[in-house]
Amino acid sequence: MLCDICHKREAKIYYTEIRNGEKKEQYLCEECAAGQSTFQTNKGEYSIEGTLNNFLSNILGSIYGEGEQKENKDTMPRCESCGISYEDVLEHGKFGCAHCYDSFKVMVDKSLRQIQGANNHIGKQPERAKDSSKSYVLNMTETEKLSLQLQEAIEREEYEEAARLRDQMRVLKGEEECVNGMKKKENTAM
């Protein structure tokens, strides 16, 4: 069967939309389905890959982003300090502030290994930094530690653990209501 919109590609998705009480049924190809504005919120029959991506960017997005109700494309991680998105960093190859190195730590570690072949500095350091290097981890706040663990979990693709850590961070940040809301949403989505 061909797609109801483009009439060119094979239809793979059965798409139902109820708008103002009126039911509309369509058979769509993946490309056209993705173009449907309301489709992103209707997760029923989308591919597993898409759901995973959504889930991942939701995890990252909910930590780095400012609001919950962002569109898919806006859920790229952002630096809390300067607000730059990781997309912008990728596009221009430059960070927005010193804090970005921690905000995007997982990606930074990965890309530094690619670009520089290493991700630990050896060499000159400022006098005042010499004593503080040992107390670096000790001085981390609870949220910062969780953030690190979370990024590691994502890297290992352990999404359940990631979700748990994310919730824990939320609690710490005093956003319990928000977490409950998200949980409900996820349950219906998965």
Binding site: D88, F95, G96, A98, G117, A118, N119, I122
Partner: protein, 344 residues
């Protein structure tokens, strides 16, 4: 006061200069992509104020605003290696603090908040590094520098993070160039983490067989190791160039000698000459001088002339010149006048 390009030293027949650049950022401000106009102004003010007493052997640094200068002055500073191409283009508030002998400078609000630069003549990266460290240590006393316990000195671009160090040799490779070996050499150097670029660095074309050779990686190795690695590649390039020169001298001396004297003649008596031609001829003369085929009354003048005949420098030196035709005349006049006499 001797300028870096008048200095004799190790391998000065091939290596023109050794340059260190350290990238540093202040904790207080966001990096350049997120720096507002107001913050750029504040950054310039703060740096200039806190570092106002910085000096080297030649005296206290001179301070100036770059973005308020006219384009010719900016280009002229680029042609003399005082500022970078980014600084020429940047519209935001940018500043410069430079030692009177032009051996050391601090660029403010380039790609990073601070770019410390130190230059010496010939092959002497150790000295350039020592000088750069002195400036860096002084800055650290006065300003709060962004440093990460894992990643080292933080920079806007991750290609500079860690040491923030770019060590760069300017080399003269006419024999390798003539043999058509440069492309192969560039590829091979890349495998050792070393970049070979044109006379004015990133994105510029090679001109008159002058190249810049610098380290690619800045993280995971100490500054000394980075330089040692770079040196081992540069030494090989030097030896290849010297071997090639020897070969040319042994097999083609009379042709070469004729070419060098002809170049001298044209430079001495031409009535108009464009940059490219002048650079080619000066390059041949420099080759003659470096291989001792000819002896000039004033040594080490040729590279200086190469810088000074660049369009903006010439314009700066000789006042307002309208078009390129007029500039070509002025360039010829300048060369006629300053070309050192031959010692027969």
């Amino acid at each position: 006061m001797r300028k870096w390009y008048e200095e004799e030293g190790e391998y000065s027949d091939v290596v023109i200069s050794s340059r260190i650049r350290l990238a540093r950022n202040l904790k207080k401000y966001p990096f350049s992509p997120k720096l507002s106009e107001e913050q750029a102004v504040a950054l310039n003010h703060e740096v200039m104020e806190k570092l106002e007493d910085i000096k080297n052997e030649s005296g206290t640094y001179l301070t100036c605003s770059i973005n308020h200068m006219d384009e010719i002055s900016r280009l002229s500073m680029l042609e003399r290696y005082i500022i970078s191409p980014i600084m020429v283009e940047k519209k935001q508030e940018t500043g410069l603090m430079v030692a009177p002998d032009e051996r050391a400078s601090i660029m403010i609000n380039e790609e990073d908040h601070l770019r410390i630069q130190s230059l010496t003549g010939a092959m002497n990266m150790k000295k350039a590094l020592e000088e750069a460290y002195k400036i860096d240590d002084y800055i650290e006393e006065k300003l709060d520098i962004s440093y990460h316990n894992q990643y080292g000195y933080l920079t806007a671009c991750p290609t500079n993070v860690g040491t923030g160090l770019r060590a760069s040799y300017m080399v003269f490779l006419p024999a390798l160039d003539a043999a058509g070996n440069m492309t192969q050499l560039m590829n091979e150097a890349g495998k050792f983490g070393v970049t070979i670029r044109g006379m004015y660095g990133e994105g510029t074309k090679a001109c008159a067989s002058i190249y810049q050779i610098s380290n690619q990686k800045t993280l995971g190795m100490s500054e000394e190791d980075i330089i040692e690695k770079l040196d081992s590649v540069v030494l090989q390039v030097i030896h290849q160039e010297q071997k090639r020169r020897e070969h040319i001298l042994n097999t083609n001396f009379s042709v070469l000698e004729d070419q060098i004297y002809r170049s001298y003649g044209v430079l001495k008596y031409a009535k108009q000459i464009n940059t490219k031609d002048a650079m080619t001829l000066l390059s041949q003369l420099k080759f003659g001088e470096d291989t001792k085929t000819v002896t000039l009354e004033k040594p080490n003048m040729i590279f200086r002339m190469m810088m000074e005949i660049q369009p903006a420098n010439l314009q700066q030196k000789l006042g307002k010149i309208a078009g390129s035709a007029q500039r070509d005349q002025k360039r010829a006049e300048y060369i006629n006048m300053y070309l050192p006499e031959l010692i027969k």
